[in-house]
Amino acid sequence: MPTQATANGSPTIHLRAVDGYIITPDGASIYIWGYRDETGRAAQLPGPTIIVNQGDTVTIKLTNELRENVSLMFPGQNGVFRLTNRGAVPVGPIYENGRLVSLTDYVPPRGTVIYQFVASQPGTYIYHSGTEINKQVPMGLYGVIIVRPAGFDPLDPATWSAYGPETDTEFDREYLLVVAEIDPVLHEAVRLGKPYRPSTYRPRYWTINGRCAPDTMLPDRATYLPHQPYGSMIMAEPGERVLIRYIGAGCDAHPLHPHGNHTRVVALDGRLLRNGTQDLSHKHFTVLVGPGQTYDQIFQWDGLGYDPVTNPIPTPIPNLRNQAIGDVGWTMWSGSPYLGQKGDIPIGVTSLNVTGEYYFMLHSHSEPQITNWGEFPGGMMTMIGIFPVGTLGPEVGRLQRNSRANSTRERR
């Protein structure tokens, strides 16, 4: 799935700013602008995830295939340069005829610009366009940069942490959740080349990784969603340390609430919550993710241990014919109260449960945001699946080169 840097410490990533379409579960097709890498043909939402190592000198080429100036900015990275044939020059705001035309060095249509910076700090960062920002960023020109801490080895789980040894950020699996909004009026105006007044911004769709629920729960690279390649179903086994990275790519704040347990917020905006030896991490059941913020968190689910043999649940389970199951046409419940067991599901209801796993919802608690244009269910909602011990392969919840998701190349 992600664009993984090679291990030589000076990765080069080539992005193109292009247009394309995404689809929503209510059947809308929405025109977007976005980034793609060498594997794609059209814009993807969000842009390709870039994974580099702490200390890498990162070179990012941007080719502009849109009809107006576009750029890349890298909030949280210090010392960003543009490479020219006269050498490296620091990027900065661009004024033309007294008007601010871009927050950073841009590239005109059909051109290519080369940015470079040293990824000095591990953590979770955003990248997005710095040009016509109130249009281009909501249109989809955004993505994520993950900087691995020094010593991180994708092949050695003992080295997996968000911020390095002794930072209490070790993890077993990791997931990215990039949240944003869509005002379809903006997208249609851009498609038709018509004016749009940013002050009328009124989102009707709310996305995680470019998708609206229930599509959020589909796997990575679902063929049905060719330009929204990243799923956001979180899967783990009891007790595993799950690193969840929230990234606010939109213009609004989103109170993200996982069921099942608190998350321990270990870092904000790519900075470890620590002051010398003093730990400043804290557990929350709802994290308010503002525009541009990134939150790194460790989630663990342990459970009350209701084992069917040793610890039967203490209440009677009613006849399921007397209860409502699958009102939305499907259920993710197993039919059993016990982890790892399956029970009967009423006829006519589709069960999406695989092996008796538990599902816990993760969603915006600003509940109009869990609709698709006002209709529940939808929007900024996904699930956390807690699977029985030993049932999840090591490839689940991995962001690395040659992961299952990354190995599937799109057919040209």
Binding site: D168, R202, K283, P314, T315, P318, Q323, D327, Y359, P368
Partner: protein, 345 residues
């Protein structure tokens, strides 16, 4: 360690705003101890808020939900659930999410079971079509007491346990939310409401708008809104305020003249991984939907202190001022008020 059994009914009713407007709600009604042959008479008697749920770490709690149906909407066969929001390590069967377990149809019961493990301030609400059912009023406060809680001993009358620096003399919960009258009207009239058009016109504390927040007497017009929010204390006392945001917006709460010591968030004592003290002072408490915050104030001077929303347009009732998310803290000379019998009002 106690075995706690409570029973709530899901049904509907009406609430009143200070401008006299009446709004249709869904909600819960307390059925604990109500004989079976009197249950039906509680239809149409939902309250905003739903009853305060008080439990203690170590308790075993059985909560029966009975779906009484909606007398005002006989066409509506919606199921309901109860979700203990923020409650850690629940199994999915009792998490109250219809898509991942079951929901309770009209005329049926279901027993939820909980073993509180962590003290703090939580909330509960229906999770069936939650955007509609939460806005319509199926919300309530939930307090989990520490295992060593003992209101008779000041060292053990704490929010998070003895030795955590969270001792208090009095406590109040303030569940804040909003009301979009168009949404309530559409639901009452069996019309579709586009939730992306949500625009509240009333801002509530414990289900009421100012000045009803100050109205302490039981009152006919407010019969379905049982909780006022007039906070009273003696000078020098520590007052624990448990804030719960069950609206859909962020809110900025401030108390003119009283700084806020923030001691807990989201039912977690503010401590770092190695016990570091992360409590802090604020003048404005800014927090989002689905968050809870525990605050201790220590007023030293007898006076009237206004509590309000610093987003000033939220101190209105359908545009009229003053109103909305506002109440008072009345502080008396030391020794004036007797000890508080229980949380709240």
């Amino acid at each position: 360690m106690t075995f706690v059994q409570v029973r709530y009914g899901a049904t509907d009713s009406f609430i009143t705003m200070p401008d006299g407007s009446v709004h249709y709600i869904f909600g819960f009604v307390d059925l604990t101890g109500v004989p079976e042959n009197e249950i039906f008479a509680r239809r149409g008697k939902a309250t905003l808020l739903a009853p305060l749920l008080e439990v203690r770490v170590g308790d075993r709690v059985e909560l029966t939900l009975t779906n009484l149906g909606m007398p005002q909407r006989p066409d509506l066969d919606d199921s309901h659930t109860i979700h203990w929001h923020g409650f850690p390590n629940q199994i999915s069967l009792w998490d109250g999410v219809p898509e991942t377990s079951i929901a309770v149809p009209v005329g049926r019961d279901f027993i939820y079971y909980y073993e509180p493990k962590d003290p703090g301030t939580y909330m509960y609400h229906c999770h069936f079509e939650p955007v509609e059912h939460i806005q319509m009023g199926m919300v309530g406060p939930l307090i989990a007491r520490p295992a060593d809680y003992n209101p008779a001993n000041p060292l053990f009358k704490t929010a998070y346990g003895a030795g955590t620096g969270t001792e208090f003399d009095r406590e109040y919960f303030l569940l804040i939310s909003e009301l979009d009258p168009v949404a309530h009207e559409q639901v009452h009239r069996v019309q579709e409401f586009d939730w992306s058009e949500y625009r509240p016109a009333y801002w509530l504390i414990n289900g009421r708008a100012y000045p009803d927040t100050l109205h302490t007497a039981p009152d006919g017009d407010l019969s379905q809104q049982p909780y006022h929010s007039l906070i009273q204390a003696n000078a020098g006392e520590k007052v624990l305020l448990r804030f719960i945001n069950l609206g859909f917006e962020e809110h900025a709460i401030t108390i003119l003249g009283l700084p806020l010591r923030i001691i807990g968030r989201d039912a977690q004592l503010l401590r770092g991984l190695h016990g570091e003290d992360l409590s802090h002072w604020r003048d404005v408490l800014y927090f989002g939907a689905g968050q809870t915050v525990d605050v201790i104030i220590e007023p030293q001077q007898p006076a009237l202190y206004p509590l309000f929303n610093r987003g000033y347009h939220k101190n209105t009732n359908a545009g009229a001022t003053p109103g909305g998310m506002m109440t008072h803290i009345t502080v008396y000379p030391a020794g004036t008020l007797p000890p508080q019998p229980g949380p709240g009002f």
